[in-house]
Amino acid sequence: MADTHFDLIVVGGGPGGYVTAIRGAQIGGKVALVEEKHLGGICLNWGCIPTKALLRTSEVYHNMLHAADFGLSAENVAFDLAAVVKRSRNVSKRLNAGVGHLLKKNKVTVFDGRGRLNGPGKVEVTADGKAVASLTATNVILATGARARTLPGLEPDGKYVWTYMEALVPDIMPKSLLVIGSGAIGIEFASFFHTLGSEVTVVEVLPQILPVEDAEIAALARKRFEKLGMKILSSAKVTGLKPGKDSITAAIETEKGETSELTVERVISAVGVVGNIEDLGLETTKVKAERGVILADEYSRTDEPGVYAIGDVAGPPMLAHKAEHEGVICVEKITGIAGVHPIDKLKIPGCTYCHPQIASVGLTEGKAIEAGHEVKVGRFPFMGNGKAIALGEPDGLVKTVFDAKTGQLLGAHMVGAEVTELIQGFVIAMGLETTEEDLMHTVFPHPTLSEMMHESVLDAYGRAIHF
């Protein structure tokens, strides 16, 4: 009889699922992973990674167009869209193979197919409608991720109305593009297509773009996008889409009731994601789901003993690094490893790779005040940093929010070049519970962008040196 019983079965091979499986195997468990499409999931194949590859292209292209600023000359700067997309796909392919290798190395048994619960502790795997395996396990972790949300009347058609899937493999470089939604996904695509020459309009239903970010940071980013030529309509929504010949016309209505029409070649719908809770056999167990996500407690336990849910399918923030960490905590809790604590959602950073980049962790200034903190806020602009000037990136801001009483770092928010690589410094600081004192005493290397982090902390206490 084939090996069909496992200590742990992970359903879903995205960043949450495969990391959880590897951690389970490291601890010594016999682990199986069931994945229907691609190891690495959306993140690696259709999300985080391939978009970073595209955005790298647009960044290099942007710099080539401004070569003269650096004393260089580049003539006839152009791009080959097919080659750009191919590079992005190759990056994903390479990492996808890497995940397969890592799972093999850790002796995780991978089943290709769709996993469904068939009562507690039982998982049926099917592929192309045929049963592949009947598995049993002491513990089952659901890590089935999320997919693009669709709004009625704005359904993607795969041709003129794209989701991130189609936008990652565009058939044409649209001369004009409407992006619905200004969250991380919408803004990244807007930034990519805009940089490559598309006339981009972003419509956001809320008054603020990048709605989860600090208001001041979002306003600075918006100013920068608009200066680069992007059109942004906030407090507005797309009420309908009318396909034409090789174009599509969107009806836009502002909060005040003003209506207008916009005809573009393509539309990207980026109005959020919803958990993949369907067709998982949840009804064969006591697992409950509500509003598109599986209900689980702080250690990812569902209402069914032995069944857990992690990552996007267990609710926001829907980020790969949250899913990975949640999965590791879940497995460690199951195996009784000492010192396991639930993830602190306030300490999960978020990064958006548009140009300029956005990165943040913790409470925004507004949220901190709302939560009852008396705050001290520090700000330091890129303009005051030597490295930023040398890089030719004088636009941006590093903002820090402290609790005035205890000196606890409540949040950090940045906009500007490379900030996505800087934010982890503040994440560590928050994780180790440093106060402003420790950060002030930390030596930051010169010349780096990270010096702005130091200066921002100093500024919160009226001590900034370079501004």
């Binding site: 010192g339 604590h341 001290k376 005035a404 009483k405 205890t406 000196g407 606890q408 180790l432 519970e433 440093t434 106060t435 004192e437 420790d438 206490y461 009226g462 001590r463 900034a464």
Partner: protein, 439 residues
Amino acid sequence: MPIQILMPALSPTMTEGTLAKWHVKEGDEISSGDVLAEIETDKATMEVESIDEGTVGKLLVAEGAEGVPVNQVIAVLLEEGEDASAIDASVGVAPPAAAEAPAAEAPPAATAAAAPAPAAAQAVAQAVDGARVFASPLARRMAAQSGLDIARVGGSGPHGRVVKRDIEAALAGAPLAAPAAAVAPAPAATVPTAAPAGPGPQQMADLLGMAYRLEPANNMRKTIARRLTEAKQTVPHFYLTVDCELDALLDQRKQLNARGAESGDYKLSVNDFVIRAVALALRQVPAANASWDQAGILYYEKADVSVAVATPNGLITPVIRDAGAKGLAAISGEMKDLAGRARDGKLKPEEYQGGGFSISNLGMFGVKDFAAIINPPQGCILAVGAGEPRPVVKDGALAVATVMSCTLSVDHRVVDGAVGAQFLAAFKRLVEEPLTMLL
């Protein structure tokens, strides 16, 4: 150069105290002898007087701050001609940005207020056997700000590190570990109180829905709790009881008080006689006037008698020094003064520290007989009950006499049964034949 005002050591054993009240505010002109602040220590509230004159530049410790270490700068005094800019240099605070107005919210005030915290935190964070306490910077600051001894907080972070959630749990009433360091030196090795197993009383009461009122323990109550737990757990107690007939003493007292009433000089209580009788009995049996120390037994040369006084905040034991050398009127007068100031919390440390033998009298409450807990490092405590008419056998016949039961609690390491009995016999003789107190 501004003058730094330090947290004073109000007694040789004081390591920290509570800044109970400021009597001055920033900007006040003060001269030598002015009262600056009230400091609350284990046992009493003391006033701190200025020895310098000048203007109060800055108060660095907030009113009510607990656990302020001795010698920490608590305020800065500006001498004539100095202005506020001199303060920062003197307390090592970086100057504020020029643009910032010196408003309450401006950096200098905030930094100054924050500055003492790390020092305080470091002081407590080295408590248990001097071992380092691992804690996050935020946890240290929160503990310092709330007067929590971080060494007593269990850590739940990596490798037992104390983190924010542990401080929050402790402040919300989670049980703390045993106190790490004794404030007052005890000659015997101190054994800390064991951490309560299972839920503490408050958690239990919450669980069971019992109604209660939580009264935070003041320093005095904490000291009582610590010292008496230590005494009962570490001192091998035994108890001897004797009945004393009081009729002769009461007669004497009546006669003496009649004279005292005429002159208005004194009004003697039975307790004054008991103090004198104890002092004289200790002279006769000096072996009972002793303390255990690891180095050996200390025999005290004078009879310094501690007398327990109930105060609104708890028990305190002012000392009648060399009571054997003092007459009844002197003892009586001194006792009234000490008891009065004890109730007001105004005793000086030297007035309640350093007795050799204690008396606890609950006679006035009608208690017949009880056994007291030894007041370390002393070797004995005499528990005095009420004088009441009781049947006694005299010459083979029943009779009525006023009888007072006294129970001596004895530290067996210092005083054996026979010595304790000799002391009680001497005491009984003195009480029953009060004229011998004249000898």
